[in-house]
Symmetry: C2
Subunit: 413 residues, 2 copies
């Protein structure tokens, strides 16, 4: 009777929380002029084998379908985006500013903040080389987190540039086939003992640790920070060369969002992947691109553990009544009138409920209160008048049935 | 570069159409007091093997996960709902009125109106025996289709009762293990030549054809039709014994929604499945239940082919601007001011875009118009004044930069 390990049932309260997160995501991305797209949940296995990097491929939900095709549940959205853009970009003015809210799947050991499925907001800009695009994307990542009530005391974006590291790898003559592994080691270094990183890096350990200590500066990153300051978002960002990102396809500026308290995993992350579309299209199309993703699991934990963020969410839940009007049938011979009225109310957009089975009047009122309805409309002896009861004040007025709609409209106005 | 056969890429225009459908679905279900839930996309294979019937099981996307578990992509939502309700129902007042919008998957030959994936609105009532619940559910199914601008000239709900058929099977002493196959044959009879149905039914053909001709009547169905009339929905419904539904678990009233013109497959369908929760919980919990599903593929085709429905959709698209305000940077030294203003506008909920790369002023205005923005704000020589241009009328006013927000608010109000 349980869902699979690492998968979630969304009972109505959890689903409301998810819808709240999705709606803030959509609202913020649209504020930046992003438009929504989506792709298939299942893709050809090759799409990921080629481009996502070994770690993701090891964690794929992959199988052979009934037609003999090797397929996989999407572990991330970027390969799908790159595939769609390579095929369809001519229809659209560049730069594209696209977002999506895919569910993604990875077979790994479930642990706090990491399940086998989660939802992500993905925001990508395609067809723009200028660092202003990197800034726009980072600003959006910041505003997506701010939308939930978090401030610069709660979180920070750590910004880096893969070119720090790829230039070092070139300088040290590391063969290209070892780059991915080396970048992964640098990416993981914060979460592992220094000795382990040292051992894995071998003769590279010295120069890498030197860069860690001295930090990084570049005209490009300084410009990004300066532009974030113009937006009033300077307090949310810092340069940090340790950020590398685990995925294979990043080429330039990369960033990750963390809570200041260090209690959670990375909340969000992304960067530039200028080569991916060319690689997927066998160099038929070359378009610079960059994007980030934020997941619902860590974000949900953060919201629940932050009083201001939780209060904002609960305030919105309280303002959304599942039921606005409850129809009480006090006399069974009034059912016909009650049901006709209910349909009229629903046609006008009110959320209306009633007791499907026959029930005592007291019980119907109790149900009305439990649903959180604002009004009850009572059909009883007074027909063609009905009772309109405000369930908060318990005040009831008698009103001609054909005046109810106008009366409700005047109260809402 | 293509998606898998039978799977869809949702480019922004298609995604907007999908969001329009989802939003009408949510709005209508909530109008009936339904609350949203969701379950996992992947479930244990057994959940479907036991209860969904042979046809669905043959079409499952099934595989063994990396932990050795036989699993399947959900082909329908009802088994997940039944599993969740059996485990969690004590937390909730009955009857439950729950809806969900799952994506579901079946490996079958893709054809018009039927892909290998689609989205469904599922609405279910759990814990209510009275036929008023059947009526409430059928009324919701009607209103879900009406929400897109369709009338009783466009579609009809055909209502039946499986008990017509199960009573016949009992009477004719058909062994229970042959019921499912027989019901499937009756279900398919409309889409197959009479001879084929006759051959499959054998000695049952006579009594079955007799019921087809004479039609069905029952106190229960008449009560449902009468209640739909009270709601003003009588014109949308008819009794039709040929409706059986393909799934194994239905026990009582069943119904399907069709376009009057007969151009499309069934738009929606559902019914009572009073035994399913007991079966899934090994008789630990018994709760009467009923539900229906409507898919996005046939509905989308119907909307696009019906002038009134298409016009309603396009009117809503036209009213939703992807970009409201476009920021034009006429002098590069004004970028700082432009970007600061943009952030203020976005913080107040406006959808704002600008040119990420440096561009000539004429080109920026062209981009502004292409995005469909209502206003451009121009940062040039006049600072601390800026230009506020109405892109529909081409009228431009000069305004102090710190008065822009108030001016925009007064125009919107």
């Amino acid at each position: 009777m349980q869902p699979l390990t690492g998968f979630r049932d969304f009972l109505p309260p959890a689903c409301a929380e998810r819808n709240y997160i999705f709606s803030k995501w959509r609202e913020t991305a649209r504020g930046y002029g992003f438009v929504e797209f989506d792709g298939p949940l299942l893709e050809e296995l090759d799409l990921y084998k080629k481009k996502s990097g070994d770690e993701i491929v090891r964690q794929l939900y992959e199988f052979v379908d009934k037609g003999g095709r090797p397929v996989a549940l999407r572990p991330e959205m970027t390969p799908t985006l790159a595939r769609i853009v390579a095929a369809e970009h001519r229809q659209f003015r560049k730069p594209l500013k696209w977002f999506s809210i895919p569910q993604v799947f990875r077979y790994e050991r479930p642990q706090r903040g990491r399940l086998r499925e989660h939802f992500q907001l993905n925001c990508d800009i395609v067809g723009e080389e200028s660092p202003e695009a990197d800034t726009e994307l980072i600003a959006l990542a910041i505003d997506v987190v701010r939308a939930f009530g978090f401030t610069s005391r709660d979180f920070v974006v750590r910004i880096s540039d893969r070119e720090f590291w790829t230039e070092l790898l070139k300088l040290e003559k590391v063969p290209p086939e070892r780059w991915e592994e080396t970048l992964q080691t640098i990416d993981k270094s914060e979460r592992e003992p220094r000795e382990k990183t040292q051992e894995r890096l071998g003769k590279l350990a010295g120069p890498v640790f030197e860069i860690f200590e001295k930090g990084g500066e570049s005209a490009k990153l300084n410009k990004i920070i300066e532009n974030l300051r113009m937006r009033g978002l300077g307090d949310f960002a810092t340069i940090d060369v340790r950020i590398v990102r685990g995925l294979a396809y990043y080429t330039g500026v990369v960033f990750e969002v963390f809570d200041r308290g260090g209690k959670f995993r990375a909340i969000a992350g992304g960067g530039r992947y200028d080569q991916l579309i060319a690689q997927l299209s066998d160099n038929a199309i070359s378009l610079p691109a960059l994007g980030f993703a934020i997941g619902d699991v860590v974000l949900g934990e953060m919201i629940r553990s932050n009083p201001a963020a939780r209060e904002q969410m609960e305030r919105i839940f309280a303002s959304e009544r599942a039921v606005e009007i409850y129809v009480v049938i006090a006399k069974e011979d009034q059912r016909e009138h009650a049901i006709a009225m209910m349909q009229q109310l629903r046609d006008r957009g009110y959320r209306v409920d009633y007791s499907l089975g026959e029930a005592k009047v007291a019980r119907q009122f109790r149900l009305a209160e439990q649903t959180g309805a604002r009004f009850a409309i009572v059909f009883g002896d007074e027909w063609p008048h009905v009772g309109l009861k405000d369930l908060a004040t318990a005040k009831q007025e008698s009103i001609a049935h054909d005046k109810v709609l106008a009366r409700l409209a005047s109260i809402s106005a």
